[in-house]
Amino acid sequence: MATIALTSPRPTPHVRGTMPLRRVLGAYLVELQFETLRHLKAPAFALPFLLIPIVLYLFFTAVALGDVAAKPELHVDIRMFTGFSITGVMGPALFAFGMAVAIDRDFALLRLKRALPMPPMAYLFGKMGMAMLFSGLVMLMMTIAASLKGLDISVPRLAAIWAIGVVGTLPFCAIGLFIGSRVSGRTAPAWVNLAYLPMTYLSGLFFPMPESIRAIVLASPAFHLNQLALQTAGVQGIMPATMHVAALAGITVLFAGLAARRVARMG
């Protein structure tokens, strides 16, 4: 035991200057690995998010579509595919951030991490990376399922939709982070569902909104992300893709900014 050096060879940390870049990157990767493991070890989190979208997709495309599927101009098959993919992307991001951040705050874990020399963005990066990994997985399974069902989209387009889904996780991470930074761990599930469910149904993912309230979809990131995926799949869009990207970027910046402000003040 006497062989363990308890303090650094030079107990003047400011002389050591900075961490080598490799170690900083290492810290980010370990954080990502840690977050992913943590959520995989909680099957109650992992399984529903991995399975529900694909199960619903298979169910609806096999059973419930009926004669609307016969009208090719509606692109119902593509809409089903992108719609359930986007739902699958939203889940892990909103819940991992919304609930986990709230709980970490309740448990003072975030406070401890802020006191430690954790690389400043590692915490968010770990969660974001984890959410994107989950999205990537969900999207991959959706893509395989869609191909098996004979969805007619070229491979490069499918790859592009996959990438859009993965990057499109970010606005939902930001919204989740915002919720997580404001509410307690106990009430977080309610608040997250309050964002998740309306976003699923009121974004025109599966059926068009009635004319009178159609404009509300513009406020939903799910709508914009779905439009991007649809346009990539070759469906004529309503607005230029850049506007959707701008809206998504705007939502991300807005919520991430509000959350960062809150976290910086209150911990």
Binding site: M1, I4, A5, L6, T7, S8, P9, P11, T12, P13, H14, V15, R16, G17, T18, M19, P20, L21, R23, G26, A27, V30, E31, F34, L37, R38, K41, A42, F107, A108, L109, R111, L112, R114, A115, L116, P117, M118, P119, P120, P240, A241, T242, M243, V245, A246, A247, A249, G250, V253, L254, G257, L258, A260, R261, G267
Partner: protein, 714 residues
Amino acid sequence: MTTAALDRSSPAAVAPGERLHALDALRGFALLCGVVLHAAMSYLPGFDVWPLLDRSPSTTLGVTFFVIHMFRMTTFFVIAGFFARLLVERRGVRAFVRNRSLRIVVPLVVGWLVFFPMIVAAMWWGMGGQPPRPPVGAVPAPPALAFPLGHLWFLYVLTLLYAVALPVRALVHSTLDASGRLRARLDAGLRVVISGPWAPFVLAVPLVLAFVQASTWLPWSGIPTPDQSLIPNLPAAVAFSVAFLTGWLLHRQVALLSTIERHWALHAASATALTVACLSMAGVTPSGQTGWSGERTAVYAVLYAAGGWSWTLALIGSALRFFAAESPTRRYVSDASYWIYLAHLPVVLVLQAAMKDLPLHWAVKFPVQLLVAMAFLFATYHWLVRFTFIGELLNGTRHRRTRRHQAAEVSLPPAATATGDAPLAQLIDARKRFGAVTALDGLSLDVRPGELLAVLGPNGAGKSTAISLLLGLQQADSGTATLFGRSPDDIEARYGVGVMMQEVTLALEMTARQLIALTTTYYPSPMSVDDALELTHTTELADRAYGKLSSGQKRQVQFALAVCGRPALLFLDEPTVGLDVQARETLWATIRLLLAQGASIVLTTHYLEEAEALASRVAVLAKGRLVAMGTVDEIRSVVSRKRISCLSALPADDIATWASVTTATRAGDRLQIVTRDADDVVRRLLAADASLRDLEVQRAGLAEAFTEITQEAA
């Protein structure tokens, strides 16, 4: 009095240094954005101003161009104005002129002579030896004093601004505003503008007027680049003078930067919204459209100019917020950015010319071009500029090639002296309020090398708040907190810190081994996970899920997390709560081992015997103030009183009048006397009452000392 005033002003004197790092980094960022901007121009759909159009146009890059063009130069000129005033105030007019001549005018002239021919040659090659296409449509008359400044126009405009600023400054100081009243009013005005959410709109007013005035304004292209003539066009002249002046005035009240910092998110949101609005009016593809109605032009001018200012304030705010600390990487990049911007255009043009007809998507070509150009430019900076006279000319210092080696040798002695007896962590006159509650009321505290400082105090005394300030978890309302001589926000300061907090729940699903492994990644030279487990006697807990451990075992794992980074300074908040006697003894033994190896420890505890067993010094807090500080013995002797108790018939009231007696009371037969001089009182008691029996004299323990001190403070 004087020293106190000086001390209080010192944090303000430190802070601007950090702000300069942030602004310096932002200036570098703005310049590097220019490289992206020019690289993107080849891909703008239908943008025939640029001679080398790629066959794969991109709306995305069009929007990228639009956004960068909106803020880049405004941001640059604000920072230029800020640093201009800083330089002239710090070094005087003569040194300013000399410095700016070398750093701005010489690069302008020499840079133009060197790079302009290269730019023309690259374009010529790219167009296959064809002369440039004549512009379509009506040819505007060439401007007066036409001169192709190229991308170095910004140095020319900057020179003009300096040339105007210096005489104006002299005039203001000597005649226009000798009393300073006008300037005070100007300062107050700017304060009002910057503090409000509408700052971007107010600052945009001059540019809006200039836009509306301009006879031929292409809305999509924003501020027309003044690179064609020695007389800058009106909108550009107005935009950049206002930006420069704003920067100059900001330096008069550096405190305003904190306001901008606080509002960064607001400005970022408004920048995004305004940009979207502008794009929806002007379209996402570049257009040379001019024939807008007056109203439409006016609305767009407001949105665009305010958007540009929103971006500028958002960027300055976020730079201050997120990039205030000095970072060698950022420093290097911002040093390099000036050279890179001067030299980038020929490189970018050659790459554009070489790739424009390749049958590849822009999403492939553009990143490749950017990557190759940046790699080449950084390489030329590193090998041709940084360590040569060019670097000295551009950035004011020539770096030594052996710098890294030397830095290690040079910086060691001052650092060593700095930590010789200097405190590792320090609070100076720290005040902190939470609503109506004063948590800290002018607390000063220091932690010295190699000591264990026990911080005692009743609940609500301010212990946790004091530790929070030292760890950078909260900011003091006034006063300073330093960690290893730096701001606690500085991650490099926290590399030397280990922390064990109360009421932390770590990730329940993970094992102790995983938790320690994660924590070691935060530190530059941590111990191995096995060593940390062994040291804290947690090896047998290593592979069990944290959630399944008992509360005492959880505390032990948290202690392992605190020591695994081999910190020079440990913060332990109630470390032994919930531990059984044996675990507590082991933890104490480890603490003693750490102290023997030179670590310093700050321990907050309710267990006074813990402080008595371990502490080198004790600090007692009450109501946010330091009420006593010293070794355990010193604290005890602060309360030199002793308690005498005996069975005697002597009247308590008489004894209470004796010289050294503080109080004398009677409870039944028993006399209770508190005194500063027990020996003398006992002698007199025995002399006065021969039948006195059952005499007891007690010396106050730390517990009593503590209770008494805090009661007195209350």
